[in-house]
Point group: C2
Chain length 192, copies 2
């Protein structure tokens, strides 16, 4: 049986709630009870869909990473390196708007406490982001649309670092404009 596209399965609704809770309170900051209460289910029902919290957490990262990579593919279609970087920053801003941290940024902070497979998935998320950014940077430099010193890999890392850090700090004040200011300064220096 295939679900109609507009009806979320229970598993999806669990992931939606768990994702928001993880982004706002951390993986170690929410419980099955929190998710169950919000969905008006019992904890046991959650265990049916995700046997343990480790499985839920892994599904969380996998879905988030997949969704993110899909968004990056869509950005590729812009075919304008400078606009692509701006669109990339906008992905972060969208998350920040309702006071969430990047899921993997949050999990990066908690990294040492995570199940091994979640740790690996978080690292892979950042590697994928850096790789994608590096191709945008290389492409932009080849086209003359972007200017930067050093390797595209190092520049990509600086962008990821800057955006993740800007989210982390801007969230304290619930102030997306702070994020935008940092992000703009970071990216404007690259666009010719």
């Amino acid at each position: 049986m295939v679900q109609p596209a507009h009806v979320a399965t229970t598993a999806d609704r669990i992931l939606d709630v768990a994702e928001r809770l993880t982004q706002s309170q951390g993986y170690n900051g929410f419980s099955y009870a929190d998710v169950a209460a919000e969905l008006e289910l019992t904890r046991a029902a959650l265990h049916y869909h995700f046997p343990g919290k480790a499985e839920l957490g892994l599904a969380l990262v996998a879905r988030y990473a997949q969704r993110f990579m899909t968004a990056l593919s869509a950005i590729d279609a812009l075919d304008d390196p400078c606009a692509e970087l701006a669109a990339y920053a906008q992905l972060y801003l969208d998350v920040l708007e309702d006071r969430r941290m990047c899921l993997c940024g949050m999990l990066a902070a908690e990294h040492q406490t995570l199940p091994a497979r979640m740790q690996d998935a978080v690292i892979a998320f950042f590697d994928d982001n850096e790789r994608w950014l590096a191709t945008v940077l290389d492409d932009g430099r080849a086209k003359g649309a972007l200017t930067f010193a050093g390797t595209s890999e190092a520049t990509a890392r600086m962008i990821v670092d800057g955006l993740e850090g800007a989210m982390l700090v801007a969230r304290l004040h619930h102030d997306p404009s702070r994020f935008r200011a940092s992000a703009d300064r970071l990216l404007d220096s690259l666009c010719t």
Copy 2:
């Protein structure tokens, strides 16, 4: 009675362990039992020194912030804006060397789950850092030692954001050289 400078009080040793655990696993990622075991004390002894985890957490941030501000005062003595920025980044690198996150960076991630007074103290830490950096930047621009567009406040925020984010990500790979690369690119663009 005053303690000799080289003998740490029990309260200090508790803070030392709790600080390291918070920086590596998060405030929600360690327990009184963890601290007690490492110090070969009981949990009850910890409650004597810090009635509850909220008080311990607040003392943690207060001590860290005070120590950090003292370090910033020492850096002021360098009287060379570019060297001062490098020394500032070095503070972060020192923390990262044994796989710790900045205490307040970690607490920023967990911010929404913290006791109210801890939340305020974390925000104050970042405000103080930004203020200090802004004075270094203003001073450096006046002397002609630093160049940057826009306000010193906005530039200060970009520096804090970049360094915190670089720590967050570099810690994943246990790779301080990544931090150094990001930090150098961030700061070199300011030094004339």
